[in-house]
């Protein structure tokens, strides 16, 4: 039982730390739209 508490706490800390910058996949799974961009690249022809 004590082990379960420990693992639960550990998982919580990892989750909170990961969620400081939520992964885009997680955002998308939760209904976010992640899109758009425009990128201009300069290169030598």
């Amino acid at each position: 039982m004590r082990h379960a508490w420990g693992w639960g706490l550990f998982a919580g800390v990892v989750w909170r730390s990961r969620m400081r910058i939520p992964p885009l996949d997680w955002l998308v799974k939760n209904g976010a739209t992640v899109a758009g961009n425009s990128c201009t690249i300069f290169h030598n022809l």
């Binding site: 400081r20 758009g36 990128c39």
Partner: protein
């Protein structure tokens, strides 16, 4: 050099590769936002370009309404930012982000030359702290110098620029030194006599400003051992980018170095920066003892 437009899916990257601007109301932002996200409303954004990172840095916008988020991304791309993206998510989803409350976020960057010279400047600030940022504009260079430990005075003729500069200083975390901003018209004798007294400053920085009449006074205003960092546009800039156009604001090749020939030149170069601006850059030191004559 030829520009080509290329679309890169934002999902091929991760959020930490982007600088994030959260366009939601501040109250909602404080309930949970991605770490390092700057809180700005859509209206503020248009007046706050000086708070954003350089144009080469990817910027992503967050809002609950995809129209607002996408609109901001397109608007910023039209202003020259090379990579912009957007994320629209419900507040309840973003509220699960574990950074809560207000956060001192700095996305802006000082002039590339000041970043390059930070070691030399940092060493100087340990023993001689009085620095002047002449024509300081929105004050990013002044605040950068204050972070390195200088006691900085930023001068500009435009009150609007000083309002922005004070905002930049407020939004930055604690400074090692200090910064204050003053309005001054250096073309008047009274202002130049007050702010450019002989040996008044240990460091003077001037970016994107040229008044040839002031150059000898700037040189004299440097204390022995003091550092001058001067960077502004060459004539070539007007031919390539059209602005600034007036010849009195543009340097001839070699002119900047020749204007400060009594200083010890540490570094001098002419050419394009990362945004293809054509600039002359001078880093020079006041001699410990003035040469006779």
């Amino acid at each position: 050099m030829s520009p080509t437009r290329q679309i890169v899916p934002i999902r091929a990257t991760e959020l930490r590769d982007w600088r994030i601007v959260d366009l939601r109301p501040p109250l909602i932002y404080r309930r949970g936002h991605p770490q390092g996200a700057l809180s700005l409303s859509r209206d503020e954004l248009e007046r706050s370009l000086f708070l954003l990172p350089p144009r080469a840095t990817p910027v992503a916008f967050i809002h609950t309404d995809p129209g607002v988020a996408e609109g901001a991304a397109v608007w910023l791309a039209a202003r020259g930012w090379r990579t912009t993206g957007w994320i629209a998510a419900a507040d309840r989803v973003l509220a699960r982000t574990t950074v809560e409350g207000a956060e001192a976020v700095t996305l802006w960057a000082p002039a590339e030359t000041l970043v390059r010279e930070r070691v030399r400047l940092g060493r100087l600030a340990q023993r001689a702290r009085r620095a002047l940022d002449l024509a300081c504009g929105s004050g990013r260079n002044s605040v950068h110098l204050a972070r390195l430990g200088f006691e900085v005075t930023g001068l500009d003729i435009l009150e609007d620029a000083l309002v922005q500069a004070r905002r930049v200083a407020r939004s930055t975390g604690p400074l090692l030194g200090a910064v204050s901003f003053r309005r001054a018209d250096l073309t008047t004798p009274a202002a130049s006599a007050r702010w450019l007294r002989p040996a008044q400053w240990n460091a003077i920085v001037v970016f994107r400003y040229l008044d040839r009449a002031l150059l000898p006074r700037i040189e004299r205003a440097l204390a022995p051992g003091g550092l001058l960092i001067y960077e502004t546009f060459l004539e070539e800039q007007a031919r390539i980018h059209g602005r600034p156009r007036r010849p009195e604001f543009l340097l001839k090749p070699g002119e900047l170095r020749a204007s400060f020939r009594d200083l010890e030149i540490v570094e001098y170069r002419e050419g394009p920066d990362s945004e293809d601006n054509r600039l002359a850059t001078l880093v020079a030191r006041q001699r410990k003892k003035r040469s006779a004559g």
